[in-house]
Every structure is written in C-alpha cells, then in structure tokens.
Amino acid sequence: MEQIKTRQDLENKVLKCTDCLTKKLNGQDGKKHLVVCGGTGCISSQSLDILAELEKLIKENHLEDRCTVNRVGCFGFCSQGPFVKVFPEDRLYHAVKVKDAARIIEEDVIGGRCITDLLYEDPVTHEKVEKQDDINFYKKQIRIALHGCSLINPEELDEALGFGAFKGLARALTMSQQEVVTEVLNAGIRGRGGAGFPTGRKWQFALDQHNDEKYVVCNGDEGDPGAFMDRSILEGNPVAVIEGMMIAGYAIGAKNGYFYVRAEYPIAVQRLRIAIEELEKVGLLGDNILGSGFSFRCHIRLGAGAFVCGEETALLNSIEGRRGMPRPRPPFPAVKGLWGKPTIINNVETLASVPYILREGAAKFASIGTERSKGTKVFALGGKVNNVGLVEVPMGTTLRELIFDIGGGIPNGKKFKAIQTGGPSGGCLTEKDLDVEIDFDSLVARGSMMGSGGAIVMDEDNCMVDVAKFYMEFICDESCGKCSPCRIGTKRMLEILTKITEGRGEPSDIDDLKELADATKANSLCALGQTAANPVLSTMANFMDEYVAHTRDHKCPAHVCKKMITYKILEDKCIGCSMCARNCPASAISKTETPSKKNPKMMVYHIDPSKCIKCGVCISNCKFGAITKE
C-alpha cells in the first residue's frame, strides 16, 4: 500500500481520491453507482442480503463496467430501511427487499427507469419523493457530525480521503498547539455526551499540564437507552472520529488515544479496528505523521455492559481493569486521569465534529446554532413518532420542528403527550415547551437536559408514572453501589414507584418520593446519582394529576399499569365470533347466554376478571373493537 509520509503525499492522495469519488457520484465515469445501507437497523432487515444479491446480479449480467455497488453507513431514517441509493441520479429507494434487487438491476441500472413504487411516499401529500434531500425528514438537517455517513464506504480509507478526511488534521499540524485549542474554544463547541462542558476549555486544562505522557480518551460508551448516534457515527465514518482524536492529541500533547466502546456495538468496533489498521499501514497513524514530528497511536478498549462507565472517571477505572465506579473530583481527569496522567475524555459526536472545525474554520462552525450552544446536535428521535431515526439539526431548532416537521408527527392519529430528552438523567417536556429553541441551557431551564441526544416521544397511551418507574428501574440496576445516597435512594424510590403502579399507593407516597428525590440529588457522588431523580421530579412537575389518580383513586388514566385495569367486552359491539376466547392464554373468556345485538344467532362473550392476566391478546385479536380497558 502506498505510504503517505509528507503533506505533499497527502495532497496528491486526497486529490486522487476526491476525483475518483466525485466522478463516481456524479456519473462522470459513465457508471451507475449503487450504495446499500450497512447500519445496524438495515442489516437486521436483510440489507446485506440485498447487497449480495445486487453483486451477484451485476456479475451474472456482466454489468461490471456499467455499475458498481458499495456498502455505506447509516442513513439515519432507520424505520424506513433498508435503503438503496442510486447515483448519479441521487435516487433513494426505501424499504427495499431482497427480491427488489432484480428490479433495481433490470429497470434502473439497465432500463434507466426510476422504480416509483420503491420511492418514499410523503405521508401527508402522498406524493412520491425521488431525492433524499427533498424528504421532509432530511430537509432541515445539516450533517457535520454525521458527515459522510451513508455516502462513503466506512471500510475504505480512500473514500474517506475523497470526502474531506485529514484536511482538518493537516491544517492543525501547521498551527501551534495553543492555536488549535483556541480554534476549538472560538468554535464554541460543547461536549455532546451529556453535560455540555466547553470542549476547548477541557483541552486548555490538559494543555496547561506539564507531563511527558498525556492521553485522549474517546467515550463511546453510549449507555442512554434510546440514543444511538455514536454507534452510527462509528459505523458510518470511523476515520472522522480518529481524525478528531488525533487533532485533540496534537493540541494537548498526547501520543496515545483510547477508544472505549460498548461491547454491544460489534460492527462499530470492527470498523474502527479496520480504520486504525488502514491508517497505520499508510503511515497516517504512528511516528512522525506527515513529517510533522507528531506521533500518535490509537487503541481500542471494550466496555462490558455497565451504564455508569459513561461517567468519565468510572470509564477510566474500567480501562484500568477495575470495577467501573466513579472517582471523586477534583482532581479532574485533565490533571490526573488515565494511569494518573493528564487526560481528556471526549464523546464520539464531539470528536466527529472537530475535523469540521479545523477544516472549515471556527467562525463557520460558530455561525450555526444559538448564542451559547454552537453547531449542530444529533438527536435519536424515537418512540411514538412517525419518522424514527437519527437527525442532525442546528442548535436552536424547536421541539415542534423536530417532532412534527422532521418526525412527521404522532402515528395513528394519537395525541402528543411528552418528549423525554436526556435519557435516565433527563426529564420530559410537554405541549407548552414545543416552541422552545433546543440548546443545552434552554432544556435545563425547563427541567430536562440535552444529554446525549436521545429524544423519545410519548403519546396519550403512555403512563408517565410507569415511565418514571422504568427509568428508576434502570438507574437502580445501574447504580454502582459506591455511595449510599444513590444506592439506597434509588432503591427506595423504585419501591415506592412500584407500589404506586401496582395500585397500592397512598397520597403520602408523593411527599416521600419528593423528599428522597431531593436527598439523592443533593448527596450523590457522581452525575448518575445526582440526576437519578430527574425523571421522577419532571413527571411530577408536569403530570401530577396522574400521580394523584394512581395514589388517591387507584386508577391509571392511560390504562398501562396492569394491576389497575380491567378488560371488558362491550356487549353492544360483540358479534360472538369467539376469536378472543380461542386466543386467550388464560382461558378467561367464555360464552354467555346473552344473544349478540349485531348477530342475534350468536352469544356474546365475557371476561372473568379473576382469571384475566391482562396480556392484551384479546384486544389485538378483536376485529370489531368490542374489547376495552378500564
């Protein structure tokens, strides 16, 4: 493999790769270029079989000189996958099946026709949309952290180099360390992992430490249930994250960088490994990079399934081979971090944004976003929303735009109830917050937080007490046990919430919960415990009526908490078809002597509440809407 030893080598290589990629994408090479999504979501819907089928058909039809096919990273619009995109037309086919591969080859590649029924249909106008950028889901997005994802092959270094990789590092290497830190400070970027601490300040602390050995750690322990941007970035463009880490290493004076990635993300780890090996082969990682005298090496460490390891000091303990428990701060990691050396810990999305800042300049980055939160943020939009997926929008986008314009609103004509941001450390926002411009500070001011960007939409069918219990179960399970306020506080809160959702609540529980929440918040050692009560406090602030209904009236208004609901057959609607009775796993449904009003030859059915296990199978089987929950 040809070596890239000097700046001139890099320039030559980048020119060649850019030319090659551009020609491929705009068809100047006279070929059609197909890309297939190889993100986790699409792979689970057989996208790799589609890829294999396309490759096979190209071979069988001897189309090698007319068509190429490539695997790329996540498109972000996971609920509509798998995706196949056709260049130079920039045509996006969605929900593609393996059997569609033959049509794509015959009709599009050979016939040159667009296959209309594979195009995305706008749910409102019912018009077919051919180009990705014309789909509402993509219209308001700006791709900085997701740069290159869904366009380049993440396992081909040449494609990354053809799409801007290493331009940022090349510029950084012409600057002094302080100048690079200042550039990042001026960009105003804040940590994308949760707390939103200014990245440049972190780097400045580490730069100011005098030590021969310093470290950069990339936090890829994406634990917030409901967030998957780090996974998609690592899967879609690992080279960008490595480049960001190298720029950070150069800026603070580190020679080694560690990626700490969740073991739950095998594809991300594999692609990161391939990228590191490729870069080592060509000399872009190792000694004397580009003849600058700067040397840097990357290492990968895997998590082992502990949410608390996303907390930076717990993460360091985990790399050091210990239980992942947080350390008291100070000393901060920038002073005394990994193996006692000055260390900066940056999130995947933060590091993926750094090359852009160096490549395009701090001013351009800072021109995007709000006064105190610059740039873009990737949100993992999920839950009860039509368009589920990853969206990267400028800071300052409103929740309404996010949920209704990009997300396409709530499915099945249901009513929007709340959006939970910030995961187990965050809170929920409601109707009254929809026009808030999203940034780090505005969300905190409303009792939630940005967190890593998980955004779960809930509709009228979700019980907020149940949601609070869900998060508390998570935190209680993941509390490391080191400090008692978190270990005991979360356990007691979970007990109370369980009692309430099981219909055994009493009005005094609400005060007890509040007291425990405040104590846990004030006295816990790390952010996990300090924020553990947020989902409880924020659901209480917004949905106190639901807490009251559960504790005083022993009713669950959303009909979620099993112990408080009863299933009933509406005699007016039942036609006596016996569908429910035949499928009831508890044999709780039987025929009565009452003839059906709709169908007098048949008898209506009845559910015996003492036998009913409230599994909901009857409701899903009844075609006549004759069964309800009360």
């Binding site: 986790t40 792979i43 689970s44 998957f228 996974r231 985990s318 210990r322 239980r323 998060y471």
Partner: protein, 162 residues
C-alpha cells in the same frame, strides 16, 4: 483449580500472554475468556489471578460488576430482548413476557435443556426498528409478542435438524 481441564488451562494461559504488553489488561483478558467460553467460573478466575498477580478478590469484583461477564454457563442461544426506552414505550415488555411464558424462565435464567438464555438488554442502539431483540448477535426488527412463538420455533427446528 484442579477441575480445570488441561486444554482450557493452556488456552487461558495463551489469552493472558496475548495481552501481557498492555497496561492494566484485566478487562481485555476477561472479555476474551467470556467470548471464548461463555462464562468465567471461579477456577478460571483463580488461574488468571495466579498468572497476573491480581488478587482473586479483585478479579471476582470485576467479573460480578459488569453485566457482560457471567459466572454460570449461558444457553446455546442467548435471547436478548431490548428494554431500552424506545423499545419499552413500543411494548418490548410484552415481548419479554411472552418469551418468559413460553420458555418458562425469568430474565437472566437459562432453560433446563441449555438451549436458551433470556436476557434483558439496555438498548442495543437499534431504536429505529423498535421493539428489537437480538439472538446471538442477530438483530430482529419490530418484533411483536405474536411473533415470539415463531422465533422460538425457528431455533428449536434448527436444533432438531442438526
């Protein structure tokens, strides 16, 4: 340590040797053993302790802290139902309950025939296709409780034909 077979002991020595140049390699060693054997019994921890000089109490502390490490063998097929937020609000608990009901085990347990282990997962990052579950790494998208019997049968048939 007497119970450990010679072949296993040799392989564990090789794993420890593989990471000898790494600073603080304990997690890497344990991850390799877990993926090789599916669990890390006390005999193995004692061997790792004697090879690395790390006290066995410390190793036990690490093994029991992380959910990826297991003290007991897992089933041939590990069914991980995602109970992350996005999956939960879309009903993954019902999917979990169905697996529990059919397999007759609670999350964290293994069936008597050693075929299935049922695990509750905390978000596998497949929120776009919620509710999701993974069986030995293969991800199943948009699963409903109704599909569960079919999924279980798929693996039982595989076994019967093997």
């Amino acid at each position: 340590m007497a119970k450990l077979q010679l072949a296993a002991e040799k392989q564990i020595r090789e794993i420890v040797e593989r990471y000898k140049d790494e600073e603080t390699p304990l997690m890497m060693i344990l991850e390799a053993i877990q993926s090789e054997y599916g669990y890390i019994p006390i005999e193995v921890q004692e061997l790792v302790s004697s090879l690395t000089g790390i006290p066995v109490a410390e190793i036990y502390g690490v093994v029991t802290f992380y959910s990826f490490f297991s003290l007991t063998p897992k089933g041939k097929y590990v069914v991980g139902v995602c109970l992350g937020t996005a999956c939960y609000v879309k009903g993954s608990q019902l999917v979990m309950d169905k697996f529990s009901e059919i397999l007759g085990i609670k999350p964290g347990e293994t069936t008597k025939d050693g075929l299935f282990t049922l695990d509750a997962l905390r978000c596998i990052g497949a929120c776009g296709i919620a509710p999701a579950l993974s069986i030995n790494g293969k991800v199943y998208p948009k699963v409903s409780a109704g599909q569960v019997p079919g999924i279980i049968k798929e693996y039982q048939d595989k076994e019967a034909n093997a």
